[in-house]
């Protein structure tokens, strides 16, 4: 079966939240049939790599199959958090869309129609 590489934004949605210098990112496929594919490809290591340039030290993924959702928790990513950061977005709220820019390989049959 032919596969295509697409950004997560085509397949899933996300919201970012913070507590101190720690970020959480939900990842929710529009189609629950994509849950296993995301579980396989959107690994802790790949998500950590997205934030390595900011000094992130650890990423933990919590799987919620009953909700068809994942929760990623990334440590030491906010360069000081809402209080200490020099970043305009000290809360890190925009990072949900950095996660959604990550690409995954999907069989064409599972791709949503535009």
């Amino acid at each position: 079966m032919s596969e295509v590489e697409v950004p997560l934004h085509r397949l899933a949605h996300s919201r970012a939240g913070d507590k101190g210098n720690r970020l959480n990112l939900s990842l929710i496929p529009y189609d629950p049939a994509l849950y296993p594919l995301l579980a396989e490809q959107v690994t802790e290591a790949r998500v950590l790599a997205l934030f390595r340039h900011r000094g992130a030290t650890r990423c933990t993924r919590y799987d919620l199959p009953l909700l068809s959702a994942f929760n990623f928790v990334v440590d030491e990513v906010l360069e000081g958090g809402v209080n200490g950061s020099l970043n305009l977005d000290g809360h890190g709220k925009t990072h949900s869309f950095r996660l959604l820019s990550l690409t995954v390989r999907v069989p064409r049959a599972l791709l949503p129609r535009d």
Partner: protein, 457 residues
């Protein structure tokens, strides 16, 4: 069934949002309450600084504006209003509500005041352990502004039991504002972890206002919502049997569906098995959702665990300054001019020996996702943006150094690259927060319930 509406999700939320929520609660004619969450970690610190300047300030600045249109109809329909509007100064907030009530001809309005969350002396005396997440923070030369404990729902229930029609609190936990009217109505005990889990989930889903009904959800062309200029704020339907349905104000925009509820359920959550509140530890690992109609989502499978012995405390400190400056470039060669400007700014700070930590953003190339070192804009290889804003941000323990660094951006109006314009600069005090833990018995709360005419006296 009991209806719980939310009227604000943060300090700075849309001030006209509570009106359609109250209208919906009244139209449905069921027992109901509304709560307002207007206090963040930084908000409380800023409020303490306000209170220092004026002893009658330091509470939510939008309090009167939020309550003015709803106070009389809420009282007439026996719908209590609860909020952590008190911030650093709950007594002043209660007096402000009393003055508003008198001005509206409601001298008999019963106002409940909840105090006791201020634990500044305990932190100042070094008596509280630092929360593990902040163990590495070195406060050095910083000075303590204030410290507040996140208190639970019990004192709020006491205020309601004593007839309060408006409950004014300070640093309550967000879910406590939702748990309290439910516990009061259903007579929940504070060791009934299943019931409290239901309340905590309702609070968690509603505490950020429109975030469960279309706010920070809509993504044009991808996740559209009706009328984003008038998102309806959320309402929870809770039953004695443990039913929970999330819906929203009638005749408004926004939407409530599986996608909006999932995003908010996981918002600011870490371990989904342990969402800690002062009243209960919520576990959503067995939670399921079902769309039960338009803008109606049922939440099932919530599990509660015993509450922690300790309360979280947020201590805020001051002691450094943030300097910021911005200029713009646009048109041909904008990217090269912006990069050169960034490098020259950093070089100027170095040559002048200003004691600052600095960061430069190229807004339009990379900013919010970038690191302090500018890894993304330095490595950017895409097409040239038509318009770029260069932002310098510095931190310094010395106000003058922060100011002089920010003014280096201003100087670019004459010394910068060709076609540099639109300078802005400012210096503001920085606030740092640190979390501590305190045994709950060390945070005694006080509840006062009086009529508006007595509070205003």
């Amino acid at each position: 069934m009991f209806l719980l509406g939310n009227g604000a999700g943060f300090s700075g939320d849309r001030v006209d949002a509570p009106i359609p929520v109250l209208r919906t609660l009244i139209a449905r004619g069921l027992p109901a309450a509304m709560f307002f969450e207007t206090l963040g970690e930084r908000t409380v610190a800023l409020a303490h600084l306000e209170k220092r300047r004026d002893p009658e300030l330091g509470y939510e600045p939008m309090l009167e504006r939020l309550l003015a249109p709803i106070l009389a109809p809420a009282q007439a329909h026996r719908i209590p209003l609860l909020g952590n509007w008190g911030a650093a100064n709950p007594p002043a907030a209660a007096r402000a509500v009393a003055r508003l009530a008198l001005a509206q001809g409601l001298p008999g309005l019963r106002i409940g005041l909840v105090e006791g969350d201020d634990v500044t002396p305990l932190v100042a005396g070094g008596q509280l352990p630092v929360h593990e997440a902040d163990a590495g923070l070195d406060m050095g030369a910083w000075s303590l502004i204030a410290a507040n404990a996140y208190i639970g729902a019990e004192p709020l229930v006491e205020a309601l039991a004593r007839g309060a029609e408006v409950v004014v609190a300070g640093r309550t936990s967000d879910p406590a504002l939702a748990i309290a009217p439910l516990a009061h109505h259903f007579g929940w005990r504070f060791d009934d972890w299943q019931a409290l889990a239901l309340g905590a989930a309702a609070g968690h889903l509603l505490e950020c206002g429109s975030q469960v009904s279309g706010g920070v959800f809509w993504d044009p062309g991808v996740k559209d919502i009706p009328d984003p200029a008038d998102i309806g704020f959320p309402i929870a339907e809770v039953t004695a049997e443990g039913g929970l349905v999330i819906t929203k104000a009638e005749n408004t925009g926004g939407l409530v569906d599986l996608r909006t509820v999932k995003e908010q359920l996981l918002y600011e959550l870490h371990d989904p098995a342990h969402y800690v509140t002062p009243d209960v530890v919520l576990d959503i690992t067995r939670c399921t959702l079902a769309q039960e109609g338009p803008d109606r989502v049922a939440v099932r499978g919530l599990v509660g665990h015993p509450r922690p012995e300790t309360l979280k405390v947020t201590a805020s400190f001051e002691g450094s300054w943030l300097g910021e400056g911005e200029v713009s470039v646009a048109g041909p060669n904008a990217l090269a001019r912006a990069r050169a400007t960034a490098d020259v700014l950093l070089e100027r700070l170095r040559r002048r020996g200003l004691a600052v930590r600095a960061r430069v953003d190229l807004i339009g190339v990379a900013s919010v996702h970038d690191s302090d070192a500018g890894a993304l804009w330095r490595g950017y290889e895409g097409p040239e943006p038509p318009d770029i804003r260069i932002r310098l941000a510095v931190e310094s323990a010395r106000r003058d150094d922060a100011d002089q660094a920010a003014r280096e951006v201003l100087a670019l109006l004459c010394c910068g690259t060709a076609g540099t314009g639109g300078a802005r600069w400012r210096v503001t005090p920085r606030i740092l927060t640190r979390s501590h833990l305190v045994l709950r018995e060390r945070v005694p709360t006080r509840v006062t319930v009086r009529e508006a005419r007595e509070f205003a006296a």
